[in-house]
Amino acid sequence: MKNVLEVRDVHLSFGGLVALNGVNLQLKEGEILALVGPNGSGKTSLLNCICGFYKPQKGSIIYRGEDITRTPPHVRAEKGIGRVFQTPYIFHGTVVDNIMVGYITQQKGLAKLVTMKSAIEARKKAEELIEFVELEIYRNSPAHGLPMGIRKRIELARVLMWNPDILLLDEPTSGLSIDEKRDMARYILELNEVHGKSILLVEHDLSLVHDIAHRAVVMDAGVEIAEGTPEEVVNNPEVIKAYLGE
């Protein structure tokens, strides 16, 4: 299978603090790759490098054969890299408002953003995604005070609004109840299997990783220490050491 996204020897440090120390990673077309590791191991930093908030000091990020290490975040979004944050960023407005924002990504030119036609089209598309993430009853309620599970779905729908090629999901199930986790896993699987998205998943819940991921990479202290199928990874002595200590 072809590599959609490739991270080559990425180094990132803040002052003296080394966050990433030569990370290599390949995301293949149409797979779910889980990225696991203890807190502070650099998972989120890596995602931030991939979507462009941090510029790595060394190394490169290749997206479909194109070096995007220096491209600004919004251009990467246009190219098709979607990111869901760990804590969803929901602004003041209704659920529909929040999802409609995603419409602007694909639209070239300002005129397309302000016509009534585009607003209606955005609305229509938002409605489809509301259906996908099963938020029909919340459609017109203010999004800001809704519970975590709902907000995570809103954010997922917002990213899906512009049909990204690959999805970077940063702990999509943290802070969710068992039922909500199951729902989220269902969406992820549907996105992967029906819509053919390649997904990079950062996750702490190893049983979830075990259930849905095709491959897993374990990171610790800014380097990747193991790679393989979820079963192999979980039983790797290095991984057990990193999680449980000596």
Binding site: D97, N98, I104, T105, L110, L113, T115, I120, P142
Partner: protein, 348 residues
Amino acid sequence: MATSRPCGVVKESYRADMSFFEKPFHYWAMGLFVLVLVILPFTAPEYYLNAILLIVIFSITIMGLNLLTQAHLFSVMHAALMGIGAFTTAFISHQVPFFITMPVAGLMAAAVSVFFGLPSLRIKVFYLLFSTTAAQFIIEWVLNYITRDIPGSAVYTAPLAVMGYQLGTIEQYYLYLIITAIMAYIIAHIGRTPLGKALVMMGEKDYAAQIQGVNLLKFKAIAFAISGFYAGVAGSMWSYMLGLVTPEHFPFLMSWELLGVGVIVGGLGSYVWGSVLGSVMIIVVTQVTTELVTVLTPYMPWLGASAFGLRAIFYGIIIAAILILEPEGLANLLRKVKRYFDLWPFSY
């Protein structure tokens, strides 16, 4: 902002769903409001008509400022931007008619607004207040510098005329109402399109917006341009209304009044009605203070010279009260009234 609506309201198309008027009742209310505005000049004295013209002018500026503030781009240079619009108009009004000067004034102010807004890429939140404070004083100084050779720094504007026919106060009133209606429609429309929603999102979390493909440079420039354009047009209208402009008309304090009373008291995020209410508040307080001082001066002679101070106190108290009691502004009160009438006469 369409919030949850009562049952029995069914929309059959997305266009209907996004309409500004949710129920037939809202059409009726709007129609009544327009009717009152139309017959007003025949009943009210000219003195009040001037106050309404001022309300109209300020509400246009505040509409733009409201949008900008909603994108968390705090600006206190809007009085100066109005000044730019007003001076541009005053300088070119003798050659060209108003339907050219107004857009030109708007574009001029938009350009200046974008120029002084560009630091917003590097600096955020209240730092922007500082840079726009600087912008306000620099623009004010430049206006003073340009007009330094003119006695009193006063530049005269040609009277408002269409094809050589000079408009009277009442015609001017109708013209201004039409312009305001158009401007209000545009800003409300921007609010419901993806662009408007992206601006709100950019304001609250700019990096999260970036990942949705928001080009911060472009969108911040757009916000400043729209807002500057509105201020410029309002300045132009101001210029025609007074017939002359001086830099003293657009002081730093006015910028704060526009932001504090106009946007915050009016209602942040309510582009049309919040702005109109904020503007009404600014003018009403000014008028009430003036009349209060006129009435009270015979009894309290020391009050005579301090209408200015009394007004500042009132503004301060109103802002403080709104912030504590109704942080979403007067527009929220309006919304409550609307909600009440939604289910009228069987509201609970």
